[in-house]
Amino acid sequence: MSYMAPIQHDVEDPGFSLRGLLAPVRSVGQGVLAAVSTVGEGGHLAGRAVGAIKQVDIWGPRLVPLLVTIGLASIPIALFILTFTGMVLALQASYTFTGTVPKYFVGALVGKTIILELGPALTALALAGRVGASIASELGTMRVTEQIDALEALAYDPVAYLVVPRVLAGMFMFPVITVFSLVVGIVAGWLTSLAMLDMTTPEFVKGLRLFFDTYDVQFALIKAWSFGLVVTGVGCFYGFQTTGGAEGVGHATTRAVVVGSMIILVLDAFWAAVLL
């Protein structure tokens, strides 16, 4: 029997063609099953985390250091991004409004856009890269080096010890960082208006107050809170799911950032539809 014979048989076999036709369907089916499985596993981890909240003696001592590493250490990157965002918004608003609407509308656009959208969303996207990746790689490394198994063997609930304090720190610190971002973004827009757009402070403030509503700030904080939950929760989930060695940790980190960013954008649209 020649080496090629089975291949010729396969090509002529109508069953082979059917299999070939069904291959994309099979891959879609497998993708859907994998997605459903991931959602189920995520739900299971979330359920365990909610159940573990009562173990305050386990996660309590871990919370303060994580508030610092997740929160305070993230402030510089968030402020950097919002500084330049505020500047660009002021310049683009001036470019758009010149000759059509009064100049003080620059303040209105800077304030409204930063508070409602860019402050919370850009901060969260930046932190998905910094915080989400950091959590996924740390927990992923702990998973592949059996440190999470060691926690279990020492009778610690790893969800209470690792997941709960990170998620709580994210839920608490994201709104705090976002408040700093909003202030810095608006201040950057104001200073840019003074320095480059020949505006005065009363003009900028007039525009800023024109459409300002305290509900906008509440809206931003609700979004930031939910983004904190998502970024830390997704990071923990992919960290816990890590398999293999360094490559597995790399995959987990990438997935945490990509999936976290996607959920942030979906949630952003969700809150806009529900709360505005």
């Binding site: 702990m142 080096t145 059996e146 440190q147 198994d149 060691a150 926690l151 279990e152 063997a153 020492l154 009778a155 610690y156 609930d157």
Partner: protein, 246 residues
């Protein structure tokens, strides 16, 4: 363990594994790499859930226990991981203290004393402040052993405690395992490839082969067995068959 089956994907690792360990004895489990020895140890303390079968420890069915009772049971078990699994965000002292912090009623002073004593036992006195990344492989294993014995467990599970160690450190670890059994009456299960260690530390040796126990007996029994698969493994002879038709 009774009738344990465990598969990962399409690989059937454990196929009806059953064995019992007597109180106070040290049982070594030997077998080729990938045969499921570490899976067996992790199944014993509920880190891995079997597809079917039962594990009984201290009169309790491990996989039927509620989580809180499972943690209670785990406090009686020390686990020495193959690569130590030290928490790299903590110092050596904090690693050893981790299990003790779960034990209610111990003051910080008592915990420090116990940590110091356990590190002294494994010839690592004075290393409390060092980080795991600063330790050699042998020191990491000894620190892992110190962490496992800190809570004075009734049972100790050792996953390849001497693999990759120099002969002197191997002898030290073997001596510690014997001391745990003889002085403290600890019941031990040791997963190992190291036949010299297995002969020294074991009351009985079991060979895991194709997902179940192929042989179990005393060190003398295993030396004199005429089972070609067992002899091929313990004597390191690839010329003897690795599989024998039923």
């Amino acid at each position: 363990m009774r009738g344990i089956h465990k598969s990962f994907g399409g690989d059937r690792i454990l196929r009806g594994l059953s064995f019992a360990v007597q109180e106070g004895e040290t049982l070594s489990i030997i077998g080729p790499s990938g045969v499921g020895k570490s899976v067996t140890l992790k199944t014993i303390i509920g880190l891995i859930t079997p597809d079917s079968g039962e594990v009984w420890v201290d009169g309790k069915s491990v996989h039927a226990l509620p989580r809180s009772d499972l943690f209670e049971l785990r406090r009686k078990v020390g686990y020495v991981f193959q690569f130590a699994a030290l928490f790299d965000s903590m110092s050596v002292g904090e690693n050893v203290a981790m299990g003790l912090r779960c034990v209610t009623g111990m003051t910080e002073g008592e915990i420090r004393k116990r940590v110091s004593y356990c590190l002294h036992i494994v010839d690592m006195g004075g290393t409390e402040e060092r980080r795991p990344s600063e330790l050699s492989g042998g020191m990491r294993k000894r620190a892992g052993l110190a962490r496992a014995i800190a809570t004075q467990p009734k049972y100790l599970l050792y996953d390849e405690p001497t693999t990759g160690l120099d002969p002197v450190t191997t002898t030290t670890i073997d001596g510690l395992i014997n001391r745990m059994a003889e002085e403290l009456g600890v019941t031990g299960i040791v997963v190992t490839h190291d036949m010299a260690s297995a002969y020294l530390i074991s009351d009985r040796i079991a060979m895991l082969h194709e997902g179940s126990i192929r042989f179990v007996g005393t060190p003398d029994d295993i030396r004199t067995t005429d089972d070609p698969v067992v002899r091929g493994f313990v004597e390191g002879r690839p010329d003897l068959p690795r599989e024998v038709p039923a």
